[in-house]
Symmetry: C2
Subunit: 331 residues, 2 copies
DNA sequence: GTGAAAGCGCTAACAA
DNA sequence: TTGTTAGCGCTTTCAC
């Protein structure tokens, strides 16, 4: 293997000079620089990054904790992260945690083991609750904890849910069912808050029985919808707190022989790719997924450069995407 | 920071002994082992993996090259990889290459830079064509190159496509359109080969005009279908070489006011999650995605242990999943 | 602008 | 069974 020593010998300079031409070319005279570069070219030398990282006590790697990598919304977020990470010379280590805290913790401890410089958590939970959190560079995105010490970036979930509910109300709906995610998740709580606020503003009652629990997956949406539609007095519209659940709900309703939106309106949240390809195309809230990723990575980058970001909480804009899955309720 | 030195002092042993208790506990007497473990517990010491990796000249990391991370089929493959990697103590670095060879190359060269020990390529292309390939541990999965030097694991794509085509023929179809992927991709070529074989066996002509090109994405499927349906004599069935394209095709056909499968049959390939949720549910070929991932990782692991795997080419079984998107052609 | 040399934290001969 | 010690390949003072 070619090492920096070989290059230094070949170019007739010291290893320090070789090191400099690689990281601070302007600290080296053009003449020697040329000699070194020639030697590098000639040998096809590639520096041992593992040695460099060891020496600089950096890994140039960050880990992202994602509850479910096959969720289409997250894949877009990840792509945003990867893109800006790459431009800054960072690699991203993917941790598919399935929401399990031990897995989250084990990934997070990679920064203590110097295998990673920081972490982006896409789930509303702090890895290694017990204090350790303070000293690892961490940003929380999408689903966020309330902890003020952690810089975070999220949607105005309550506002978005409120807007969607108001839209449904404006269409004439009075009984709006909800398929929610896990109740621990702040996402669920915030969206539910927006839903209630809209109801209240419209003078409509909040009916606990209209809320069914899911876990954001299509199959859970299917079950939740089935359950809601079996009610004595079923809702005329379904607000699914994720597009995947909405797709599951549409399927369930279709199996029951009902038509969307004629018999029942269904709306989602996220605007994943398939929302557009639903039959009928799904009305939903668009989240700027890639931007979530790139902004989160940007924050982590400044954190890594020593910025003091605690108390930072950024919001990203949502957008209502009206397609054809919601209409007026039947007379 | 606590280092191995600190532990050795605290336990009153040498650093070598500390190192041994961590990696070869049985080479250390119970008494000293206990002392060392106590010191480790007391200090909360965590070994610097970056130093260990540097010293052992391993990274315990592999990179997986995936053309599109938001493709639901790949996310499942990745999950399979991650799972078995984790059990073997490896981390996985995700490289979303968007099919671009420079990105593939730059990721692959992480092995040379000692940032990774090996790579799994999910795309039918060899990174760093120019020879370098021979000396990096690499396994090729899903979409494979023909190069015999590379261990590979794939589906019997031709067989699967043939089976699906035969099914369509058995339903009475005589004009079967195809939306294919990029023609460079071996996936496309193999599946097309199966399609032609089935046609031939049934004594049906092969009509080049019935083949439309896509890139496996939903939007490309939509365009391809539109194009095919605009033919003077359109096909009565569409064999889309990916579920995403099939979903796009169903959408296109729906926009034209046609019914699936009454007016046109549509089938896919992959059996992604949403295939089941289509309207009507999509008839398709199921690929064992997670298994692709775990098997590929398993191969890479043995490669990394020095096994000689060239010429290895494993096949995984497909499964026809008959749902409701294909039926008899209109009279 | 350049070089000598001291680490970085660990592993692995080798010796005892 | 345990300790001594020489690296691993690079970066980074500190002199010159």
């Amino acid at each position: 293997m070619t090492t920096i020593r070989d290059i230094s010998r070949l170019a007739g300079v010291s290893v320090a000079t070789v090191s400099r031409t690689m990281s601070n070319p302007d600290k080296v005279s053009p003449a020697t620089r040329e000699k070194v570069e020639a030697a590098i070219r000639e040998t096809g030398y590639m520096p041992d990054m593992s040695a460099r990282n060891f020496s600089t006590r950096k890994s140039k790697t960050i880990v992202v904790l994602v509850p479910d990598i096959s969720n289409p919304f997250f894949s877009r977020v990840i792509r945003g992260i990867e893109h800006t990470a790459q431009r800054a010379g960072y690699s991203v280590l993917l941790g598919d945690t399935r929401g399990e805290s031990e897995i989250e913790d084990s990934y997070a401890s990679m920064v203590r083991a110097r295998l990673a410089d920081g972490v982006i958590q896409l789930n509303g939970r702090l890895p290694m609750e017990n204090g350790a959190v303070a000293d690892i560079p961490l940003v929380n995105a999408c689903d966020c904890v309330e902890d003020a010490r952690i810089p975070k970036i999220q949607l105005d979930n309550a506002g978005a849910a409120r807007a969607m509910t108001e839209y449904l109300v404006s269409l004439g709906h009075r009984r709006i069912g909800v398929t929610k995610g896990p109740s621990e998740s702040r996402l669920t709580r915030e969206r539910l808050r927006g839903y209630r606020a809209a109801l209240e503003a419209a003078g409509l009652p909040f009916d606990e029985g209209l809320i069914a629990r899911g876990d954001f997956s299509a199959s859970s949406g299917r079950h939740a919808a089935t359950q809601l539609m079996a009610l004595g007095k079923p809702p005329t519209a379904l607000f699914c707190l994720s597009d995947e659940m909405a797709i599951g709900a549409m399927h369930s309703v279709w199996e029951m022989g009902l038509k969307v939106p004629d018999d029942i309106s269904i709306v989602g949240f996220d605007d994943i790719l398939f929302a557009e390809y639903c039959k009928p195309p799904l009305t939903t809230i668009r989240q700027p997924a890639e931007e979530f990723g790139s902004k989160a990575m940007g924050m982590l980058l400044s954190l890594l450069q020593g910025a003091h970001l605690a108390e930072t909480s950024q919001h990203l804009p949502y957008e209502m995407v009206i397609r054809q899955s919601a209409g007026r309720p039947k007379a």
